[in-house]
C-alpha cells in the first residue's frame, strides 16, 4: 500500500472514531466545543473590541483587523482538527512516557503523529466559526479575488499551521531531556501562540519584532501572511514568506525531535502517566 493511501485510511479511521465519540458522548462533545470556542475566540474578542474602540489598530482598519483575527482563528481550528490527542502538546506525551505507545506500532512515528490527532468533528467547533468570520471579513473588505488568491490563502493557512506545530515540537522536545519539568511546556508555548497571534506587530521595537518572526514566530500565524494577502505588503514575494518560514521551522523541528528521540531511545522514560492517553 502506498503512503498516501495508507494516510487516507488512517485519517478515515480516526474520523470514524471521532464521529463515534461525538455521537456517543454528546454532552462532553458539546461542553468541549463550547470550551474550545471560548478558548480560541476569547482572545480574539478582546482585539475586536479594541479595534472597534480605536477605529482600527495602527495601519490596520477594523475590517483588516477582523480578517487578521479570522485568519488566526482558522489556523487555530486547523490545529484543533489535525493535532488533537496531544499531538500539538507533544511535551505531554513525551513527559508522561506515552511515546512508547507510538513506538509499539509497526509504522513510522511521523505517520502516527500525522494521523492520530485527526478530529474533524470535535475540531469543527473552532474552524467553522473561524471560516464564517473570515467570510464576513472578506465581504466587509470588499475583496473580489480569483482562485489564485484563495489558493494563496490556503497555502498560507497551511504554512502558518506548520509553523505553529513546529514551534510546539521544538519546545516540546525539551521534554525528552527533562520529562517532569517540561511536561507542560507546550501548554505555555500554546498559550503564547494563541494569545499573541492575532496581534499586529507594527510599532514594535525591531529587536522584538525580529524575535516574534524568529525565536517566537507568532508573526507568521497572522500578521505576516495577512499583510501579504491583503496587499499591505507590496512585495510580490511576500506571499511566499510564510510558506518559506514553514519549511525552515519544519526542518528545525524535525532535527530537534529526532535528536530528542535518539536520547529517548537511550534513556527511556522512568515515569508513566496515563492522563490524556487516548482520552
Amino acid at each position: 500500500m502506498n503512503t498516501l493511501t495508507r494516510l487516507c485510511r488512517l485519517w478515515a479511521l480516526y474520523a470514524r472514531m471521532d464521529l463515534h465519540w461525538v455521537t456517543r458522548d454528546t454532552k462532553t462533545f458539546v461542553t468541549w466545543s463550547i470550551s474550545d470556542t471560548l478558548l480560541n475566540f476569547g482572545g480574539l474578542l478582546g482585539m475586536m473590541l479594541l479595534a472597534q474602540r480605536f477605529g482600527g489598530i495602527g495601519p490596520w482598519s477594523q475590517a483588516q483587523v477582523l480578517f487578521l483575527l479570522s485568519y488566526s482563528a482558522v489556523c487555530g481550528g486547523v490545529m484543533e482538527m489535525f493535532c488533537g490527542f496531544n499531538v500539538a502538546y507533544i511535551s505531554r506525551r513525551i513527559g508522561r512516557g506515552q511515546l512508547d505507545h507510538i513506538l509499539a506500532q509497526p509504522q513510522p512515528i511521523w505517520m502516527a503523529l500525522a494521523t492520530e490527532g485527526f478530529c474533524p468533528f470535535t475540531g469543527s467547533a473552532v474552524i467553522l466559526p473561524g471560516v464564517l468570520l473570515m467570510a464576513w471579513a472578506v465581504s466587509r473588505l470588499g475583496l473580489r479575488q480569483g482562485p489564485g488568491w484563495y489558493g494563496a490563502l490556503a497555502l498560507n493557512i497551511a504554512a502558518s499551521t506548520v509553523v505553529a506545530l513546529s514551534f510546539q515540537f521544538i519546545w516540546g522536545s525539551l521534554a525528552f531531556w527533562a520529562p517532569r519539568a517540561a511536561e507542560e511546556i507546550n501548554s505555555a508555548s500554546s498559550r503564547l501562540l494563541r494569545q499573541l497571534r492575532p496581534y499586529p506587530l507594527e510599532g514594535l521595537a525591531p529587536a522584538l519584532k525580529g524575535a516574534l518572526l524568529g525565536l517566537l514566530p507568532v508573526g507568521f500565524l497572522g500578521w505576516a501572511p495577512c499583510r501579504a494577502l491583503l496587499g499591505m505588503d507590496s512585495r510580490p514575494t511576500s506571499i511566499w514568506v510564510t510558506p518559506l518560514a514553514a519549511v525552515g521551522f519544519g526542518l528545525i523541528a524535525t532535527a530537534v525531535f529526532r535528536k530528542g528521540l535518539a536520547h529517548y531511545g537511550r534513556t527511556g522514560s522512568q515515569r508513566y502517566l496515563a492522563h490524556g492517553h487516548r482520552t
Binding site: 461542553t31 470550551s35 471560548l38 478582546g46 480605536f54 527533562a178
Partner: protein, 251 residues
C-alpha cells in the same frame, strides 16, 4: 518550599514559562503604544496609566486569576487522599496556591517590576493611599477568586464534566471578564460598564483601578465584599452537598 522544589525539580525549564510571559507583556505594552499614538487619553485613561495597569496586572496575574491545584487533584484522583489530611480541604488548596504564587512572585513578578523602567512603564501606585488600598483590594480579590475556583470545581463535579473543561473555559473568558487584559474603560459600546458588575471584575479590575488611581476605591471594594459574601456560602454549600460524589469522582 515544596512549590519551589516541585517547580525546580528537573532543572531551570520552568524559567521558560517566565520568558514567555515577559514577551507577552512586552507585546501588550507595544500594542497600547500603537493604539494610543496621537491620543492623550481614552476613556479617561492616558497611556501611562494603561501601561501601569497592564504591567501590574501581569505582576499579580496569578493571585488575580484565583486558580488553585484543585482541577489537577480531580483529574489525577488525588482529591480523595486530601480528605485524610488533618486540614480543611479549602485550606489545603489555598495554602498550596499561596505557596506557588509566592514562588512565582519571587522569581518572575518581582524581577518584572524591577524591569519596569526599562520597559518605559511607571510601576508605582498612584499614591501611598492607593498602595494600601490596593493590598486590601488584592486580598479581597483572592478571597473572591478562591470562591470562584471552588464553585468551578463543584460545577465540574455536579455536571460530571472534565475539570479541564471548566478550567480552560474560565481561563478563556476570565481575562476579558476580569478586566485584566483590557481595562473596562477602554471597551466600546458600554461593554465595560456592564462587565464591571460581573464577579470576575472583583479579581483584577477592582484592585488594578485602585492601583492606578481610577475608580472609587470604596465602591469597588464594597462590590468585592458583596461578591465574597454571596459566593462563599454558595461554594461551601455546593461542596457539602457534593462531598460524597467528590470522593468517587476522580482517579
Amino acid at each position: 518550599m515544596m512549590s519551589a522544589s516541585g517547580m525546580a525539580g528537573d532543572g531551570p525549564l520552568f524559567l521558560i514559562d517566565y520568558l514567555l510571559r515577559f514577551v507577552r507583556v512586552a507585546l501588550l505594552l507595544a500594542i497600547w503604544r500603537t493604539l494610543f499614538a496621537g491620543r492623550r487619553a481614552v476613556g479617561g485613561m492616558p497611556l501611562t496609566t494603561v501601561l501601569t495597569y497592564t504591567l501590574i496586572g501581569e505582576v499579580f496575574a496569578e493571585p488575580m486569576a484565583g486558580f488553585t491545584t484543585m482541577a489537577d487533584a480531580f483529574w489525577d484522583g488525588t482529591i480523595t487522599a486530601r480528605f485524610l489530611r488533618p486540614m480543611s480541604l479549602f485550606g489545603q488548596f489555598a495554602a498550596e496556591a499561596g505557596g506557588l504564587w509566592t514562588v512565582n512572585f519571587a522569581l518572575f513578578s518581582a524581577p518584572l517590576l524591577a524591569c519596569a523602567p526599562l520597559l518605559g512603564v511607571r510601576a508605582l501606585p498612584a499614591s501611598p493611599a492607593a498602595a494600601a488600598l490596593f493590598l486590601m483590594s488584592l486580598a479581597l480579590a483572592i478571597v473572591v477568586g478562591l470562591a470562584i475556583d471552588y464553585i468551578s470545581g463543584a460545577i465540574a463535579i455536579g455536571m460530571e464534566l472534565s475539570p479541564w473543561i471548566v478550567d480552560r473555559s474560565r481561563r478563556a473568558v476570565g481575562g476579558l471578564l476580569s478586566g485584566a487584559i483590557i481595562p473596562f474603560a477602554l471597551m466600546p459600546w458600554g461593554v465595560g460598564r456592564a462587565l464591571a458588575w460581573n464577579p470576575f471584575a472583583a479579581l483584577a479590575s477592582a484592585p488594578l483601578q485602585i492601583y492606578v488611581g481610577k475608580g472609587d476605591p470604596v465602591r469597588l471594594m464594597a462590590l468585592q465584599v458583596a461578591w465574597a459574601a454571596l459566593l462563599w456560602p454558595i461554594a461551601m454549600r455546593a461542596w457539602m452537598k457534593l462531598r460524597e460524589r467528590m470522593v468517587s469522582y476522580g482517579g
